[in-house]
Amino acid sequence: MRFHQFDVVVVGAGGAGLMAALYASKTATTAVISKLYPSRSHTGTAQGGVGAALGNLEEDHPEWHTFDTIKGSDYLGDQDAIEFMCNEAVRAVYELEHMGLPFSRTPDGRIAQRPFGGHTNNITGKPVRRSCYAADRTGHMILQTLYQQCIKNNVTFFDEFQVLDLILVNGVAQGVVAIELATSEIHVFHANAVILATGGHGRIWKITSNAYALTGDGIAIALRRGLPAEDMEFFQFHPTGIYKLGILITEGVRGEGGVLINGQGERFMERYAPRVKDLASRDVVSRAMYLEMREGRGIDGKDYLYLDVRPETVNKFAALDGRTRPDGSPYRVTAEEILSKLPDIIDFCRTYLGIDPVQQPMPVQPTAHYAMGGIPTNRFGEVVIDEKNKVLPGLYAAGETACVSVHGANRLGTNSLLDLLVFGKYAGLKAAEYACQTQFHNLPKDVADFALEQLDSLRRCKGEGERVSVIAEEMKEVMMEHVGVFRTAEGMQQALTKLKELKERFRNLKLDDCGKVFNTELLNAWEIGNLLDLALVTTASALARKESRGAHAREDYPKRDDKNWLKHTLAWLEENGEVKLRYKPVVITKYPPKERSY
C-alpha cells in the first residue's frame, strides 16, 4: 500500500476534472486520478458544441439562454444556478479560445455558432445560433485543449488508477482509495479536498451513446458512503443514435437542416412541435419517435426512423420553413458544406453503416445519453447532503456526475459542456481555497479496508458462479424495456424485482482472472456492481414520481404535476439494499412554471 498527500485530488480527467485541476493547481498541490488516460475520456466524443450567447451571428442574450434552459428543464432546474451558468458561459468560451481551442470560424474570424434544440430567440420563438463549435468534434477539442493546458502547468496525473472509495473522517472528506491498474497496488490519497468528476452512467441501458467506462463510479462510491443522489429518475434519451449501435449522431445534423422522417416519408415533428419542429427539446423528440414507431410508422414498420440530411431534403424543408442565412438570403446547402461541417458523422456512417449521409438517410433510434441527476451540489461545486443543502466539508463534484441542478428534468444540447466548464472551474477554485486553509486529519488504520473488502468479495476464481457479463446483459435489457423513454408503475415494479434478483446473483460471480497485472475483469465486475446500484436508485426514484416531467414520461401519469412534484428527489441507498427517498424544493427566482410547448 502506498500513501500520497495533496491539498486537492480530482477524480476523473474528462472536461470537468481537467477544468477543476487547472484552476485548483494554480494555488494548491493537485493530483488528477483517472482510470483512463485523460485523452480517452468521454468528453472527447461530444460533437455538437458548447452553448454561449456570444451573439456572433445574430442577436442573443444570456437571459434568453437562461430562460431556454429553465424551460428545457421542465422547470425542475434551479434558476439561480442556471442564471449563473448562462451568464458565465460567454466568459468560459472566450477563455477556452484563449487557451487555444480551435473553434470553427465565421468569415470575419470570430467563433462560429450553430442552432441547437431548445435554444431560441425569445422574441420570435425561432431557433437561434448559440452553439459554439469546432466542426463536429467540439468535445475532442475541449478535452485536448484542457489536457494540453494541464501539461503546460505541470499538473500531476495518476493515469490508469481507479478510485474505489472515498475517505470520510468525522464527516469531512479526507481523500480517496485507488487501485493502480498495472499492478493492483492500493494507493491511499490523503487530501483536504476531493473533487469527484467521474462522468455519466449510460451503460445501465442496452442502447447507449456512452463509453464502456461510463459506469457511474463516483455516484456509487458516494451512495456507499451514505450520501444521497439527486434526481436520478431523469435520464436523457437522445433522439438520434445509430440504429442498434447507439452511437450518437449529433443534434447539429438537425441544426444544419437535417430532418426526421417516418416510414410514410413524413416529417412527423411538424405535428409534435409546430414552431421549432426537429429542433424541439430532446425529451419531446424522443417521445415523438417512440409514438411514431408504436403506431407502426417506423421504417418498414420496424423500431427505427430516418434522419435525412441529404441536400435536396434539407433545401426542400428549409424553403418550406422560410429559413434564411444571417445575411437574409434563403438557406441552401450543398453536399460539400455538409461534409465540411459534419466530417466525423459522415465517417461514422461510412464505417458502421456503409452509407453516405449526403446520398442516403441514416437509420436512427433514441439512445441512452445523459444523466441529469447525480451527486447534489450547490453552484460552487460543494456537495450537499440533505434537504437543507448542508455542505459536506471538503467534498466537491462537477460534470455529468454532479447535479447542481442546471438541467432539471431535461438537458438542452450544448449545456453539458458548458456545465462542466463553469462548475468544473468553480469546484476547482473553491476546493483549492478550502484545502489551503484546512488542517489534515489523521487517517484511521483501516482506511483501505472497505475498498479491499469490495474487491475481495468479487475476487473468486474457483468453484461455481456466474459470469458478470450475463448479469450486465439482463440489467441492460430490463432497464431499456421498463425504465426507458416511457414508463409505467407495472413495468418499473418488474424492473425493481429483477434488479434485486440480479444484485443477489451478483454476490456469486466467477472470474477467470486471479492476477494482479491489468485485472480488467475484476474491475469491470466492480463497475457492473456500481451500475446495478445506480439502476436500482434510478428505478426507485422513477417509480415514486407520479407525474410526467422532462425525460421522465409516465403513461399512467401523463401530466406534469407542479402542485405535488415541483421538487428534487434525494435518494439514499440503505445497507439492506432499500432505497430511501426524500425531497427538496426547486429554486425559482424569476420564471414561474408555465406550460411547455415548442
Binding site: G44, Y94, G100, S104, A135
Partner: protein
C-alpha cells in the same frame, strides 16, 4: 457466421513468452473486432486484457495489430477483413505488458516533449482572438489526432530507435506550429530538428496508412521539415 480470432496472449505473471490462442466466436459481418474481443472476454475467457472505452473510434484506446495492420479494434468491421481467421496482436515498439496492452508511457513522453499546447503571452482581447477560416484551415487536419499511437508504432524508424519522437508527436507539434495564434513555433522547430526529431522520418508512409483519423501525417511531417529548412511557415 462463425469467425476464428487468433490472439497473441501474454500474462507476465505466468508466461515466459507470448503465445497464440484461437477462439471461435459467433459474429455478424457488421460486428466490430472490439465486439468480438468483448464476446470472448465476457463469455469465454475473462482474463483477456485490452483497453477500450468509446467503441466508435474517438478515444484512441484500442489501437492494435489486426491482420498485421495497426488499426482501432472498434473501427474495424469483420466484413472488411475478408478472412476466415482474424489475427489480433499488440502494437509493436512499445513494451508489452499483458495480452493486447502495451506500455503507453514512452509514447506520451514523446508527445509532451514537443510543447503540445498553445503558447501566447500577449494579453488576450476581451473577446476571442480573431482567426480567419483560412488560417484555421491551415492546421485543421492535425487537430483530429486522438493519440492512439497507431502511427508511431507502425514506423520502422521508431522500432529501430525508441528515442525518435515519432509521427504522433510531430503531428501534435504541427497543430501548434501552424496555428496563427501561437508564438512558440521556433522553439518547437528547434526541438524537432534534433537528432531524434523529424529527420528520422524516411517517408515510409506506414503512419499515414495506419492513422484511423485519416490524417495526412507524412504531409504534415514534410511541412515541418520544410519549415525547419526554410525558417519560414509559409
Amino acid at each position: 457466421m462463425e469467425v476464428k480470432v487468433k490472439i497473441l496472449r501474454f500474462n507476465p505473471e505466468t508466461d515466459k513468452r507470448p503465445h497464440y490462442q484461437t477462439f471461435r466466436v459467433e459474429a455478424e459481418p457488421t460486428d466490430r473486432v472490439l465486439d468480438l474481443l468483448e464476446k470472448i472476454k465476457g463469455y469465454q475467457d475473462g482474463s483477456l486484457a485490452f483497453r477500450r472505452s468509446c467503441a466508435h473510434g474517438i478515444c484512441g484506446s484500442d489501437a492494435m495489430r489486426i491482420n498485421g495492420m495497426n488499426r482501432l479494434a472498434c473501427k474495424t468491421l469483420v466484413k472488411d477483413l475478408g478472412k476466415a481467421t482474424i489475427t489480433v496482436e499488440p502494437l509493436l515498439g512499445l513494451p508489452l505488458i499483458k495480452d493486447l496492452i502495451v506500455d503507453m508511457e514512452p509514447f506520451f513522453e514523446h508527445y509532451e516533449s514537443v510543447m503540445p499546447y498553445l503558447v501566447n503571452d500577449e494579453p488576450p482581447p476581451l473577446k476571442e482572438r480573431l482567426q480567419s477560416p483560412e488560417e484555421r484551415e491551415r492546421f485543421d487536419d492535425t487537430t483530429k489526432c486522438i493519440l492512439c499511437a497507431a502511427c508511431t508504432t507502425s514506423c520502422p524508424s521508431f522500432w529501430a530507435n525508441g528515442r525518435y519522437v515519432g509521427p504522433a508527436a510531430i503531428v501534435n507539434a504541427h497543430r501548434f506550429i501552424f496555428d496563427s495564434r501561437d508564438r512558440a513555433a521556433a522553439e518547437r522547430l528547434r526541438i524537432l530538428s534534433d537528432q531524434f526529431g523529424v529527420y528520422r522520418c524516411h517517408t515510409i508512409f506506414n503512419c499515414t496508412l495506419a492513422c484511423p483519423r485519416d490524417i495526412q501525417i507524412t504531409k504534415a511531417i514534410g511541412e515541418v521539415k520544410k519549415a525547419i529548412a526554410t525558417g519560414s511557415l509559409d
